[in-house]
Symmetry: C3
Subunit: 108 residues, 3 copies
Amino acid sequence: MKLLIVIIQNKDANKLQSQFVKNNIQQTKLSTTGGFLKSGNTTFMIGIKDERVQEVLDLIKKVSRKREQYMTPPVNLDGGVSDASYPVKIEVGGSIVMEMPMDNLYHF
Amino acid sequence: MKLLIVIIQNKDANKLQSQFVKNNIQQTKLSTTGGFLKSGNTTFMIGIKDERVQEVLDLIKKVSRKREQYMTPPVNLDGGVSDASYPVKIEVGGSIVMEMPMDNLYHF
Amino acid sequence: MKLLIVIIQNKDANKLQSQFVKNNIQQTKLSTTGGFLKSGNTTFMIGIKDERVQEVLDLIKKVSRKREQYMTPPVNLDGGVSDASYPVKIEVGGSIVMEMPMDNLYHF
Ligand code: NI
Ligand code: NI
Ligand code: NI
């Protein structure tokens, strides 16, 4: 057994949770803030058999890999010269997964 | 040493915490949501000596084992035919415990 | 690799987090309550190479070791004899660190 602690950006968290449910991967969600990832993030704890670890990693990679996206910055409202607002390229997503050995998993 | 991560239904959390306090088992409570257990749940982290693991498991089993309970469903308010509301049997409680090896526990 | 779970009093949490950032130690902060430490506390999860564990422990010790402090108790407002309020010595701070083996740390 392994414990996987998955830390992902909030914007990818719901999509990842849906994938876990669809693939029958039991998880618990923690509220976390800052640190590893720059914006708000979510942490999942997953207890899983060794032979399913790669499957979970593949799901996480698919949903939350770091990627580029275009964003239109908010219009300048501070009274300066009115510039047109061009879309800029930003990096979103990304995740960290920590894999720990687990001695036992009990259900009561 | 072991790290025990205990995930239990909110309705059993206070009772379990009282048992931990009474038995001098130090724990930290995390806010968690959904996943392993269907309704709201609470997570405890416990750092404990190997020889006390069974004692902790026994406490958890006693307080939060899955069990049946009768619940009267809410009365139908949507204007349909007014049915009598019979108690139904539902399953409540239940817990998951993950046991991980711990290399060291420091107090500063 | 190691997983360090650090539980410290809220009053020391921001200072510790600044030290982590300054020393390039990546961490994730969890909201936790009660248990190990008497007042409100904060939990950090840190994935770190074995050879940096001592460095992290030294930072934690420096910031959050248990120490004595003088506090003036609030004035008695319940209508009794009005006593002068003398400063009393209390114990503040303190932290717990749990060190667990980590098999893998992935970045996606
Ligand atoms: Ni295993
Ligand atoms: Ni041990
Ligand atoms: Ni290692």
